[in-house]
């Protein structure tokens, strides 16, 4: 008979092996899913995971990789701080939208002026927008103990409606022949977030993501604030004993994750997406949740997990054009990845033992 037994200390091996095993299992089961859809599973897996990196058109896909990874990593790093502290910001998608609206809105207010300070100002406004949207659930939690999971998530729907209203109203392109959506931010030099080195996909968002990963790593590993965040998540009562104010942490973590999501939103509308329009947000805020867990809530892990997630996006598009694989399959695939990770994760804290039943 198999029995679970708690390990004395969490296993370091499994902490890092779990994501790898989860990815492998997802490929196997995902392959079965593709087979059920009538596709050759080996071709499908190769199209998603191999071709974008080493295939014929890799030169194009490799750049796309960073473009997709940057926002997801930026958001996931912010979320991971909260998740570590037991604060569940699920509404990054909404904060992402609000950042785009604030940043883009400020930029468009200057149109068609050209000043060096417009772009930095947009970045600040975007962070502010995301921060504000994240502070709503934070303040409600601190003040009224309202569940932040529900509030932050419900605010995504509010933000989406707000985005629709802005695309159709205030921010609508006056020269857009009635089509919804703003003026192009990418073609307005003062706000554009261009590819900095041709062919690499590197834009300002990629640089921001790299800087944030580095800063967060230092914070968590070396700084007392990082210690407090970890402590609050693992043992809330011990955190209070150590003098950590739970309210302060909620405001901090929700605020930081909101601001980072807001930044990601602006870099997206000013670069890859190009303009503010209904549906410019493609769910990075939700994928970031998966990435945060897959990366073990650690900045460097998130960096790797974000690149992997970007690969599924890019590869998914590739599979959709070349194999006619529905794009929804990739979403299901990503969800599956999280399932397997959660299941395999058990081995970090428990070990399976074969117990022989003896007759008494």
């Amino acid at each position: 008979m198999l029995k679970l037994e708690k390990r004395a200390s969490p296993s370091t091996f499994w902490t890092w092996a779990a994501p790898v095993v989860a990815v492998a299992l997802t490929m196997v089961v995902g392959g079965l899913m593709f087979a059920a859809l009538g596709k050759n599973p080996f071709v499908a897996i190769r199209t998603i995971f191999w071709d974008p990196l080493f295939g014929e058109f890799a030169f194009y896909f490799r750049g796309q990789l960073l473009v997709k990874a940057a926002p997801v990593i930026l958001i996931a790093v912010g979320l991971s701080l909260g998740f570590r502290a037991g604060i569940w910001n699920i509404g990054a998608e909404g904060q992402y939208i609000m950042g785009a609206l604030f940043g883009g809105g400020v930029g468009l207010a200057f149109y068609p002026a050209e000043h060096w300070f417009i772009f930095p100002l947009c970045i600040l406004a975007a962070a502010l927008g995301g921060w504000l949207w994240g502070m709503i659930p934070a303040i409600l939690k601190v003040r009224f103990r309202t569940n932040e999971i529900l509030v932050s998530l419900l605010l995504v729907y509010v933000a989406q409606a707000f985005l629709a209203s802005m695309s159709l109203g205030l921010l609508k392109n006056p020269e857009g022949q009635g089509f919804p959506g703003s003026r192009s931010l990418a073609q307005y030099p003062a706000t554009a977030n261009p590819e900095l080195i041709a062919g690499t996909g590197i834009h300002w968002g990629v640089i921001a993501a790299a800087v944030v990963v580095l800063l967060t790593w230092v914070l968590l590993d070396r700084h007392i604030l990082g210690f407090q965040i970890k402590l609050a998540g693992q043992a809330p009562r011990a955190a209070r004993f150590a003098g950590v104010s739970p309210s302060r942490l909620v405001l901090l973590c929700m605020g930081v994750s909101g601001a980072l999501a807001g930044l990601a939103g602006f870099f997206e509308v000013a670069g890859p997406a190009g303009q503010i329009k209904i549906g410019f947000n493609v769910g990075y805020g939700f994928s970031a949740i998966i990435v945060a867990f897959l990366g073990r809530l650690s900045p460097l892990g998130i960096l790797l997990a974000g690149l992997l997630m970007a690969l599924t996006y890019v590869g998914g598009e590739n599979a959709s054009t070349n194999l006619g694989l529905p794009s929804a399959a990739i979403q299901a695939f990503q969800g599956m990845l999280l399932f397997f990770l959660l299941a395999v994760d058990m081995f970090t804290n428990y070990r399976l033992r074969l117990v022989r039943r003896r007759v008494a």
Partner: protein, 504 residues
């Protein structure tokens, strides 16, 4: 009635019971005696069907007995009152009783039977009350009545008196004697020797999972039993005569401290007041759940009050948080070591940082000084004889006693002026407990003001200079320990519900 032969149960790394045998006759009150970790709990869990033995056999009322689960044990007439109550706070008394029965009658009938049985045995209970609102003594009555309603042949009681006042213990013993006179066998688990001498007909003594002796408690002295149980002779802590520090203001003053409990179903503190001077140890006794946790929270700063309610060396600190108080010389060791005093999944180094960061200056501009932190953890492990493979292991990997030594050591090594400790030696083996008590005395001698909250009266009388009792959130006026009689202590601890029950 019950015969146990050669029962063995091993867990990975520990042999909880090794070849244990004993038997109980009908109507006998039999004691199972041993220190924490001697294997008493595992043994009774096997009798109650919660754990299966690896080998050995049990016979109950003449037939082979191997209960697959507690309901099977209950069906055969075995009932158990747990040490940590198996009660549901948000449910009422009748519902709690119903959950412990195989085929409970309808609620109205059950309620009247609860009233009837509880009066018959002198344990008054209101079936409609929420369990969360009951005192510890009343909760135990719920458990006992639940057992009695099933007409048990064998009643197991696991450390029943640890939560009772002396008066309540008297009531419980009368009930148990009445039951034994009616022919019910009682298996009584305890490490309190005088109780066993007063109540039990026979005793089996366990040490490290093995039977090390049997005796008739009335015929041997408590000392003889203690030596069998512990297996070594113990030295009481040394005490130097107290020095007069000649302070104008006491090191710690608590004035009219009243605060609502932050814990659901907790006890609010009401008008608590006391002074503790340098070098003085104030012992606070009382039955669990009378505001001990809340008092420690209010003193350590986790629960904030009006500034003037807690004053250290003349400085009002009632509104200050834990770290501000640490800067003012406070250290605190809460009762719950795993989860409150220490983070279970963090290493000993991180746990040393947890409360030591301020007084040991382990940060520089917010950045953690790792070398200093590791040195601090290593020093605690060395000075307090914490048995661990190293300071990198997670706190949860340490045994209870070793973790307690680490936690107490961490606080006492911070050169404190004011020390607050709740249950310093709970669940710690005798040798370690003696070491912890000695460390507290040493700190007091070097000038710290100490508040020790404990449910172990013997411990308090051994180390404290003055003594007070916490009862339903109120504190009695502290009195010098010297010259205090056991009767006086009983009266201080009595409180209202004990006296009322005694009349019923």
């Amino acid at each position: 009635m019950l015969r146990i032969e050669g029962v063995t149960k091993a867990y990975p790394g520990v042999v909880a019971n090794s070849d244990v045998s004993f038997s109980i006759a009908p109507g006998e009150v039999h004691a199972l005696l041993g220190e924490n970790g001697a294997g008493k709990s595992t043994l009774v869990k096997m009798i109650y069907g919660l754990v299966k033995p690896d080998s050995g056999s049990m016979r109950f009322r003449g037939a082979t007995y191997a209960p697959a689960q507690p309901s099977a044990a209950r069906a055969l007439g075995v009932a158990m009152v747990f040490q940590h109550f198996s009660l549901f706070e948000a449910l009422n008394v009748a519902e709690n009783v119903a959950l412990g029965m195989e085929n409970p009658p309808p609620m109205a009938e059950l309620a009247s039977r609860i009233r009837q049985v509880s009066e018959e045995y002198g344990l008054p209970l209101d079936p409609g009350r929420m369990v969360g609102d009951l005192s510890a003594g009343e909760r135990q009555r719920v458990e006992i009545v639940r057992c009695l309603l099933q007409d048990p042949k064998l009643l197991i009681m696991d450390e029943p008196t640890s939560v009772l006042t002396p008066q309540e213990v008297g009531i419980l013993f009368r009930t148990l004697r009445q039951l034994s006179a009616e022919g019910t066998a009682i298996l009584y688990i305890s490490h309190k020797l005088e109780e066993i001498r007063a109540l039990c007909d026979g005793a089996t003594i366990l040490r490290r999972g093995k039977v090390v002796g049997t005796c008739t408690p009335r015929e041997v002295s408590a000392r003889e039993m203690a030596e069998m149980m512990v297996g070594q002779t113990l030295t009481p802590p040394e005490r130097a005569p107290r020095r007069d520090w000649g302070d104008a203001v006491p090191a710690l003053q608590v004035k009219a401290l009243s605060v609502a409990s932050p814990i659901p179903f907790g006890t609010s503190l009401k008008e608590i007041g006391f002074d503790v001077g340098r070098g003085e140890i104030l012992g606070i006794a009382g039955v669990a759940g009378n505001g001990q946790d809340e008092l420690l929270l209010a003193l350590s700063g986790e629960l904030r009050t009006a500034p003037g309610m807690v004053v250290a060396a003349g400085v009002p600190l009632g509104a200050a948080g834990p770290n501000e108080r640490r800067r003012a010389g406070f250290v605190a060791a809460p009762e719950d070591r795993l989860g409150h005093a220490a983070a279970p999944d963090m290493s000993l180094v991180e746990n040393a940082f947890l409360s030591g960061a301020i007084r040991k200056r382990l940060t520089r501009k917010g950045f953690i000084d790792r070398a200093a932190t590791r040195a601090f953890a290593e020093q605690i492990v060395k000075d307090y004889d914490v048995r661990t493979p190293g300071t990198w292991v997670a706190a949860r990997a340490l045994s209870g006693g070793n973790l307690q030594k680490f936690v107490v050591g961490r606080e006492l090594s911070q050169d404190p002026q004011i020390i607050l400790i709740n249950q310093p030696t709970w669940g710690v083996d005798a040798a370690a407990a003696a070491a912890i008590r000695q460390a507290i005395l040493d700190r007091a001698e070097s000038g710290a003001a100490v508040v020790v909250i404990s449910q172990d009266l013997d411990e308090l009388l051994e180390i404290a200079d003055s003594f007070a009792v916490l009862n339903e959130g109120r504190l009695t006026v502290p009195r010098p320990v010297q010259g205090l009689s056991v009767d006086e202590i009983g009266l201080m601890m009595g409180g209202a519900h004990g006296a009322e029950a005694a009349h019923a």
